[in-house]
Symmetry: C2
């Protein structure tokens, strides 16, 4: 499997062990991993720290995102997709979109290339989590 997606999955698993929501993300610039992160809604009582947002926060101020690719274990929601569009990140690689279809069309309409690896490992991880903590999942995607 893609080495960067493996790191994103490890981040998701770290989040799960912390009692959080298992979504991980990695930022790659010119082929080098420059930041990683995971959803910290529970851990930091923070509704804006989805996996992708935590990753971009950890990257700090890097200037242009022109040569970057962002990985996420799950298709980005509108918050993360809006950030990807605003930051002009040209490419997104996701682990899956079966448990959450997210904002793929919005990103593509703004010229972002979206690749869905449709990984069984990512699907199972989210399905297990949603089965165990449905309320937390619905809070995270604001289906309240």
């Amino acid at each position: 499997m893609d080495e960067f997606m493996q790191v994103a999955i490890a981040e998701a698993q770290k989040g799960l062990c912390e009692g959080g929501i298992p979504i991980g993300s990695v930022l790659v610039k010119n082929g080098q991993l420059i930041a990683q992160g995971h959803n910290k809604r529970v851990q930091e009582n923070n509704p804006i720290l989805h996996g992708e947002m935590d990753c971009l926060y950890n990257a700090g101020r890097i200037g242009s995102y022109r040569d970057t690719v962002i990985y996420s274990t799950l298709m980005p929601c509108y918050m993360c997709a809006g950030t990807i569009v605003q930051f002009k990140i040209p490419k997104v690689i996701v682990g899956e979109s079966q448990t959450f279809s997210g904002a793929r069309e919005f990103m593509e309409a703004h010229g972002v290339e979206v690749i869905d690896l449709n990984l069984a490992e990512c699907i199972t991880m989210m399905q297990d989590f949603i089965r165990e903590k449905p309320q937390l999942w619905h809070e995270d995607i604001m289906e309240l």
Copy 2:
């Protein structure tokens, strides 16, 4: 002037005094101010903490945003607009959109009511800032 917008402007001015980008935001729920914040890109070396994001971070996990209104001294960008859409915040009141047109149409297409107060005070604050620190402004909206 709207009392909540006055708090958002005070937040923006606080950011300016800290050497940051003068954009402030307030979250109101059922008519009560529940959180406020301002852009902290410079202060916390954090590219995701636009004024609206800082405000939503400060609010913490409040459950549903159904009865909220978010104020911002400036029209939200795609990151903040995507967050408003994802969080299902029904109403946005902005100080101005002359210096940055933002993602108004995107929010409206998703059913968000957007009111632009077109305040001279907000326009002047941003114009003065952009004239003084154009590079920082272009970094913040990723026009690099």
